[in-house]
């Protein structure tokens, strides 16, 4: 058996480790082991590749590995849990650009490609390029360097169509005679960067969970395309596992918003104002003080906490956990109801609450809490808005009509912690705030929760 065959055997083992790793990622108890297993699979694959006979010099590999490791380790250590969506976006982008570069370099070292290989180079370059700039724009939107509002302009669809036709023509011309078409490839790279930018700027901040999932999927597909370029089976297996997982998450996120993927990608949701025929909101806003809220909570025997992006912004997760502890000490049953698209990426709230050591059994999914929500004494809405907006159920004119929500308005009392009366990310009025059983606790979420904790302490 020669060395190349041995490497292939290691690749099989590594693929199996990825599969077991992903399988174990499916339960909180085994997830950490799963991640370690998958990283072990990656490690042995990298080591095996380093023994490949085609490698004549290690100098530049070592340089690249060193730079990448240092940056990776530092970034992973420093990033805060609140910034996890940005981190994932950036890492996605890095995966994309490296697939793009693999395609380019594979071409540069051997320009006499047959048509099939030329097409695979094009695919890894385009998908990698779109993933790269798309992720960077998503990062900018999450970081609020770029406005979270959808960016749209007149004739956008036509510009996009023109870009797509342009890249198709270039791709065909390149594939027909790759050896003499280096300049076409550069043009294709530039246009793929442009597509990445154009496809993410019209998407609003509230739709970021979908975009992040989709870009995650793209980075896998890009790796898959690079696998075809390199004729490497492990790249194809691992890449398509990631591609499939990203698509599943994308689909789940779309379902949680009752919207199709094309609607998310092209409609510029959030730029439209709710229809004029929208039902008039009746009732008045009833503010309450921290002290009043304390008396309500103190008397409650079951409290459901509904967190949203505002919790992340206010960094209130630790204070909220402290409040939950006091409530439990007080003999109250406490649960956290988490909407699938609360926050800026799938599962964002769960990570924040886990950081504040809320046990995962207390984290409940929407479908789990809704059937029994009438029995909850108090729903404490912290920094969530659109995911608890009853207009999704009641107002047919509302842009979010039909979206599954956590039905907090059906609980006995709702306390909404909110900075001001401003509309949510989708820019839609929320009739919840005007309901009879709703009380508003205005102010910074963290400050209000800390105030409540202080009340419990002084008790």
């Amino acid at each position: 058996m020669n060395i190349e065959q041995l490497i292939d055997l290691v690749y099989i083992l590594s693929a199996a480790l990825f599969i077991f790793g992903l399988k174990w990622m499916g339960h909180p108890r085994t997830a950490r082991k799963g991640n370690l297993t998958s990283s072990l699979g990656m490690l042995i694959a990298i080591i095996a590749t380093l023994f490949s006979q085609g490698i004549v010099s290690y100098k530049f590999i070592v340089i690249g590995l060193l730079i990448g490791s240092v940056v990776g380790i530092v970034a992973a250590r420093l990033v805060g849990m609140t910034s996890m969506p940005e981190m994932v976006a950036v890492l996605n982008g890095f995966g994309g650009i490296s697939s793009l570069l693999v395609g380019v370099v594979a071409y540069l070292v051997n320009k006499n490609l047959d048509t099939f290989s030329a097409v695979t180079v094009i695919l890894s370059v385009i998908i990698g390029g779109v993933t790269f700039t798309g992720s960077i724009i998503a990062w900018g939107k999450l970081k609020e360097v770029i406005t979270g509002r959808p960016i749209q302009f007149f004739g956008q669809q036509f510009v996009n169509a023109a870009i797509l036709i342009g890249i198709l023509i270039l791709a065909v011309m390149y594939s027909m005679n790759p050896a003499a078409s280096t300049n076409y490839l550069w043009a294709i790279i530039l246009i793929s960067f442009l597509i990445g930018v154009m496809s993410v700027i019209p998407i609003g901040g509230a739709d970021m969970p979908v975009v992040i999932s989709l870009l995650n999927s793209y980075s896998g597909i890009a790796a898959c395309a690079a696998g075809f370029v390199m004729n490497n089976t492990l790249l194809i297996v691992a890449g398509s596992l990631v591609g499939a997982s990203g698509i599943i998450l994308t689909n789940l996120m779309c379902k949680a918003m009752n919207r199709s993927l094309s609607n998310v990608l092209f409609s510029g949701f959030g730029s439209v104002v709710a229809g004029k025929n929208s039902a008039k909101i009746e009732g008045e806003v009833k503010p309450m003080s921290v002290e009043d809220a304390y008396y309500v909570l103190e008397a409650a025997s079951s409290v459901l906490i509904v967190p949203g992006y505002g919790l992340a912004v206010a960094q209130a997760q630790h204070a909220v956990r402290e409040l939950a502890d006091f409530l439990e000490e007080n003999g109250c049953e406490v649960g956290f109801a988490i909407h699938p698209v609360a926050g800026r990426m799938p599962g964002h709230m769960n990570v924040l609450l886990a950081e504040a050591s809320v046990p995962y059994e207390q984290l409940k999914e929407m479908d789990e809490v809704n059937p029994t929500i009438e029995t909850a004494d108090v729903c404490l809405v912290i920094g969530a808005n659109d995911v608890v907006n009853p207009a999704a159920r009641e107002d047919k004119e509302s842009p979010i009509y039909g979206m599954p929500i956590i039905n907090v308005d059906q609980a006995r009392t709702v306390i909404v912690l909110k900075r001001s009366m401003g509309a949510g990310f989708a820019g839609i009025q929320n009739p919840l705030f005007f309901k009879n059983n709703t009380r508003m606790l205005f102010g910074d979420a963290k400050g209000s929760v800390q105030g409540l904790v202080a009340e419990f302490k002084s008790d």
Binding site: M25, V56, I63, G72, L91, V242, G347
Partner: protein
């Protein structure tokens, strides 16, 4: 590339896609963020391609060499950063009574 190896690779592609769907479909939403960053790290597998290309380059083509090195660096950031950050997150997921 000869047709038989194209078919072979396509075969692997299709099976892995189905496998991916089966594996991920049952993950609870609690774990969606770690799943995403963990699978993101796996997509850094493109590092293997980057290593082979960069190592095979003798230095005749400076541009290819530099771009290859950049590919290795970016993919390594993806892999190392992705796994570490996922581990950091998962470390925090604890069951009741294990605070």
């Amino acid at each position: 590339m000869d047709p038989s190896s194209i078919v072979f690779l396509a075969f692997i592609l299709i099976l892995s896609i189905f496998l991916g769907f089966e594996l991920i479909a049952k993950v609870p939403s609690t774990l969606h963020t770690p799943l995403m960053s963990g699978s993101n790290a796996i997509s850094g597998i493109t590092l293997l391609g980057a290593i082979s290309l960069t190592g095979a380059e003798t230095g005749n083509d400076q541009l290819a060499l530099y771009l290859g090195t950049a590919a290795v660096a970016f993919a390594t950031m993806n892999v190392v950063g992705g796994y570490l950050v996922t581990d950091r997150m998962l470390e925090m997921f604890k069951a009741k009574g294990k605070k």
